[in-house]
């Protein structure tokens, strides 16, 4: 029986994938994408059908595992936050060349306004770069329906498909209708690609395949012109034409409760439908482009539209150049009068996020700071995770944080340049994600660095997912060649400060690669475990 449910955009996508006959999800947690995989992990169909749902070590392994499943003829889903696409850029680009056998959908969740991220890169650029089609839902209902169609599309066209979500849709809940678990498509049987040649990307094969891919891409564009997710709606007032991509469509319509007076082109499937855009430009001499994220379409339109058509958007200054959209900036761009609420208050002070009370990272930073005070010429390099909050007062424990794993390698580069002491601080999950390879470099170079793994036995920032190296960090470091006597373990608690400081000092004084594992369970997961 068909039902309705209240679902996050992430959950709607996940359910759509399950109902499309998913055989496996491969993912590394990252805000705002985490809930896709978590929803699949908790859904009864997953257990019933034996759908793969274990977290991968990083986005690159996830993407490759999913590609392997697609090669074997089954439907697979990859999920990550936008910067995860950088980590798996190599297999992502490669997957356009191999193509897909079983449906392969890549859910990349962008974070404009950087609510929980280090940049606001727009995944649509990657897709266009790779010549991969994109589905960009504007609502939870569309997220559900598109996920199902994206798998069919991927399989019928033999190409991976990206589903692009942004924070506001990923983390917003709404009613999704027409849900019927009993109508879920049966997962594919294993079957191999009819044309296996393109799955080996030797130049001789890749050259041929690339030419075909370019031809196929023209077909994807024709599909986008006909897609039910892209629509051109006439409007009586031709003084402006509006192109609204994905969720930006909602902000447009919010400003016109009785219907938009301007012609509107809603785009939710890419490559963008040039034919429809030209049709709109034939009606209107001014075009406003509303897109959540970076001005991809606005930029490209300049090469397509006839001379004399004015293009308004983030580049023209009609919309803010950065940050996520909302009804109000869109209202301004439409030339409507500003809305007014109560006067803002000067009273509230900023309340930035902070490490939880009782968190082991706190005790580790306290001890590290006490030791580093004696080494005023030293520098600490850190990484991505809860512990990045240690940059803020009262800790201010380190100088850098760039991307997953960079603490270990940047410490190494700086140490070679003459920095001493060079200390890296990295979380357990980040270490297995991208720190291990850098540690091997350090061992091979006999680098004079101290790597501190602040091990809370989980992937904390995203809500406590399993961490790939739990229980094996010492063995991993030893296997990579760190001398056993320089792999030290401490328990970050105030009562242990003297001991912690002694160990940190000793390993700074050792001129070679040493690792200190500061290990205590995340206070959040510990609370949950205590309740059980």
């Amino acid at each position: 029986m068909s039902q309705k449910q209240l679902l996050l955009g992430d959950e709607a996508l996940a359910l759509g994938a399950l109902h499309a006959g998913l055989s496996g999800v491969y993912a590394y947690p990252g805000t705002p994408s985490t809930e896709i995989t978590e929803y699949i992990q908790g859904h009864p169909l997953t257990a019933e059908r034996g759908v793969h749902c274990r977290w991968s070590v990083n986005e690159k392994t996830a993407m490759e595992e999913a590609l392997g499943m697609s090669f074997a003829g089954k439907r697979s889903l990859v999920c990550f936050k936008h910067v995860g696409l950088n980590v798996c850029a190599d297999p992502f680009m490669g997957s356009a060349v191999t193509g897909a056998n079983g449906g392969l959908v890549i859910a990349s969740c962008d974070d404009p306004s950087m609510h929980s991220s280090q940049n606001e890169q727009d995944s649509r650029f990657y897709a266009s770069f790779a010549l991969i089609p994109v589905f960009e839902p504007s609502s939870q209902q569309e997220a559900y329906e598109m996920a199902r169609e994206a798998f069919d599309y991927s399989e019928s066209r033999g190409i991976p498909v990206m589903m692009r979500l942004t924070t506001r849709l990923s983390h917003s809940r709404s009613i999704v209708e027409g849900i019927d678990n009993s109508a879920a498509r049966t997962p594919n049987e294993m079957h191999f690609p009819a044309n296996e040649v393109q799955w080996c990307t030797l130049p001789v094969n890749a050259r041929k395949r690339y030419r075909q891919l370019i031809k196929d891409y023209a077909g994807f564009e024709e599909d986008a012109v006909k897609s039910r997710f892209n629509s051109l709606t006439e409007g009586p007032d031709k003084s402006l034409g509006v192109i609204a991509c994905g969720i930006a469509y909602n902000y447009l319509m919010e400003n016109f409760p009785d219907g938009c007076p301007f012609p509107v082109l809603k785009i939710s499937q890419y490559p963008f439908p040039k034919e429809l855009i030209l049709k709109l430009a034939g009606m209107c001499k001014r075009i406003l482009v509303l897109e959540e994220g970076q001005p991809l379409l606005e930029e490209r339109l300049r090469g397509i539209l006839p001379h004399g058509v004015e293009i308004l958007g983030r580049l023209s200054g009609a919309l803010p150049r950065t940050g996520e959209l909302s009804p109000d900036p869109v209202r301004k761009a439409l030339g409507l009068p500003e809305r007014e609420g109560c006067a803002p208050s000067e009273v509230p002070a900023p309340r930035p996020p902070a490490l939880c009370q009782g968190c082991g990272h706190r005790d580790f930073f306290t001890a590290l700071n006490a030791v580093m005070k004696n080494y005023p010429k030293g520098k600490v390099f850190s990484d991505i995770g809860c512990y990045t909050l240690g940059w803020l007062p009262p800790f201010e424990s380190f100088t850098t944080c760039v991307e997953m794993g960079a603490s270990v390698t940047m410490a190494q580069g700086s140490a070679f340049s003459g920095l001493y002491p060079a200390v890296a601080v990295i979380g357990d999950s980040t270490f297995t994600h991208s720190g291990m390879t850098g540690l091997l470099d350090a061992v091979n170079e006999k680098s004079d660095i101290l790597v501190c793994i602040s091990d809370n036995l989980t992937t904390g920032m995203t809500g406590g997912q399993d961490s790939a190296g739990t229980g094996r960090l010492e063995a991993i470091c030893e296997g990579l060649g760190v001398p056993k006597e320089h792999i030290r373990t401490i328990v970050p608690l105030p009562v242990n400060y003297p001991e912690m400081e002694r160990v940190i000092r000793e390993e700074i004084e050792y001129h070679g690669v040493s690792v200190i594992i500061s290990r205590r369970e995340c206070i959040q997961t510990a609370k949950r475990h205590a309740k059980k």
Partner: protein, 193 residues
Amino acid sequence: MKRDIILAGVGGQGILSIATVIGSAALEQNLSLKQAEVHGMSQRGGDVQSHLRLSDAPIHSDLIPLGGADIIISMEPMEALRYLPFLAKDGWIITNTVPLKNIPNYPEMEEVEKALAKVKNLVALDAEAMAKAVQSPRSANMVLLGASAAVMKILEPEKLRDGIRRIFARKGDAIVDANLKAFDAGLEFSRKQ
């Protein structure tokens, strides 16, 4: 009819449980609903807000426009003030009066109270003491929900009670009753204002 609500507080204060109850009631009443939540880094003790939109007509945006909110429900008094530009001039603030001071530069309470007093429609209550008074110390959020029920309009209090019954059912009757008592204490307080 529409009701746009901003739920405000500090990460970990349980504003999403308020949203879950309202959401369940709205679903049951066949209302349209959109609810934008904050996940990720901000949940670590930072300020958090959720935009909750209810309507008997389709809703477009997941975010409430400036001046569009009918109610701000806040678990913390200073946080209630953060979202004033979103509040309609005749909108309501329903706020807990107990401050959560996890920052060194928390303003003087007198200033916070003065700023709140300027709001035209204000219900300020010590939700934590009221929750304790009905032997349900962890249900301050349900006290606030109850207090807002008096001005919710689009959902009758009984529909919200049903929401509480559904959401807390798997935790047992005692928990359901405790939350209902907290809800009723808030509702009664608000009605007497």
